[in-house]
Point group: C2
Chain length 338, copies 2
């Protein structure tokens, strides 16, 4: 059994009060006493029991993140970068990160959120992959639970979030493709419930409009943000009677999947057909050919989300208004004819 604060106090012939205060750095304890306490505490290997402290202080010093997928997708570069950012900054702020996994909008997801909030598992939550109608926001606001989100919902909440201007990003991408001479530009979508889909699709529409191109709904396909989804959607697009000359994937993984379909069809990406994604994950540098993408600084955003959340948890003032970040168009060979 590890020693408790009682054991330390007994050894020193002090009260547990004094030990506690000495260790927590209060200034109403004699310096000499403090040194003795710290010394023996270290010797005895005393570490305060987290559960007891949590119970008393009503704080867990933990931040929660529930991955909106059905399986742990740590190998998905988006999530791995996002979580690395969350974890790093959480540590900076003296918090730990608790991670779980739940499929979006299903019973299990609701259960997990309820358990964490009502069971006081964490002091605050990070949300991502926001849905247009997002029950998580409703729930957390109704319980007054601290959270920050990567992306926004459609409702008229004004929850704190950090957003990326996906509309503008894709719009610029379309401009670039048009400049390259493309007229038949396909778009592989994400599930329609997601805000990122709405934003980026609006950018697609706006880009077409800017170029006076009509919307051809046969050039729309639905993916699921995974490589496989992109692959299947691209296969479908490429077997059209009049296939597209350019394909936009709603994210990089989708585009990478589409790239595979392009290869399998014996087409040369870049020269014969353009392909581009969104996110700016590292993999896009190493594909054949390297992939044009719209880069958003996921790691840095994750860290900002934590910093913002910690302020909320501590009840500090937070500057009003959401933060909107402009993504950066990165042009590579996958959209260049030569």
């Amino acid at each position: 059994m590890p020693p408790t604060i009682r054991d330390v106090a007994k050894r020193l012939n002090l009260s547990i009060t004094t030990v506690s205060r000495a260790l927590d750095g209060y200034d109403d304890v004699a310096e000499e006493t403090r040194q003795r306490v710290i010394q023996t505490a270290r010797e005895m290997g005393y570490v305060p029991t987290r559960a007891a402290r949590q119970l008393r202080k009503k704080r867990t010093d933990m931040i929660g993140y529930i991955m909106p997928t059905s399986q742990p997708r740590f190998s998905d570069p988006f999530f791995s970068e996002f979580i690395a950012g969350l974890g790093d900054e959480a540590l900076n702020q003296h918090f730990e990160l608790l991670i779980s996994v739940a499929p979006p909008d299903e019973e299990a997801e609701i259960k997990t959120y309820q358990n964490w909030v009502f069971g006081r598992r964490v002091d605050g939550l990070i949300l991502s992959r926001m849905r247009q109608q997002d029950w998580r926001v409703d729930f957390l606001e109704s319980t007054q639970f601290p959270f920050t989100a990567f992306g926004r919902t459609n409702s008229n909440h004004h929850h704190p979030y950090i957003g990326v201007d996906g509309k503008n990003g894709i719009r610029q991408l379309v401009h670039h493709l048009v400049e390259q001479g493309h007229q038949r530009i396909a778009f592989i979508c994400a599930p329609q419930t997601l805000t990122l889909q709405k934003d980026r699709f609006e950018g697609y529409l706006a880009g077409l409009k800017d170029a006076n191109l009509p919307l051809d709904t046969s050039l729309l396909a639905e993916g699921d943000l995974t490589r496989k989804g992109g692959y299947l959607a691209a296969l479908q697009l490429l077997s059209l009677p009049q296939p597209p000359t350019a394909i936009i994937g709603v994210n990089d993984l989708t585009a990478i999947g589409a790239l595979r379909a392009i290869h399998e069809k014996g087409l040369q990406a870049g020269k014969q057909i353009a392909i581009a994604g969104f996110d700016g994950i590292e993999d896009t540098e190493h594909t054949h050919p390297p992939l044009t993408t719209v880069r958003q600084p996921v790691y840095e955003i994750a860290r900002q989300l934590i910093r913002l959340l910690v302020k909320l948890i501590n009840g500090e003032e937070v500057e009003e208004g959401p933060i909107l970040i402009q993504p950066e168009l990165i042009i590579r060979n996958s959209t260049l004819r030569e």
Copy 2:
């Protein structure tokens, strides 16, 4: 403020005892009472506070894993697969997984382990990347703290671990390379402190011996289990006066890094120089050319480690003796001349 068990009891005009027992499924509570309790508990959104329960039961229902790296390396396929396995099986066993990160053998690592053990953060720990002299094992054994390990240490402990026969795996790989006509087979090592390095290197030596090949120490290079380390080590090997005709990476990432060096030198992997790794991560299927490797079932091992650990935590009997798994040699084009 979320409701406590008191609130529920008050609402029902019952004692908190009865509420607690009804919710925990004891059979000494009237069925009708139980139903009423469950009903109102749900209505009120009551969830037991974890900290209180933990304090009382002296259990956290959490399992800890401290990644032995200086940064979160979720994108490293080895870790992502390992953690996915840990997380999935932990959930099955009604545990949560707490993850942190610390650089091996440094002060911060020691601190983290001590905090988790003495602060009773978790009920048990998973170790990986075992060192030959591993203070973690000494520490956990001396405190009688439950843990299971992926790999073994050199010392004469008999802690519970699951091992993979790396020696035999590499030995077979060497045989295969010799069959392909190679005489100058290089080996890119991991840090010497790691048990996996010792095992696999022994396999290398044994393989050479089987073929009556001498050990040429100029064909040994040191990596750090990363792509970059493998890349740098391979560059060095390839600029030797008498370069190797085959290179073994101590793990797949090392081999993938080496593959890049091979490409940069204008060599054809497979045809002109053989290259192979160890682990069997998915990436090896998608390299150019696909990479020969020695596959170990990381995901399944992770799950077994959790199952074993849960038994230890519950004080159940555990079959004596470590578990040794035979890896599987997977031959692909990177070691085939045609």
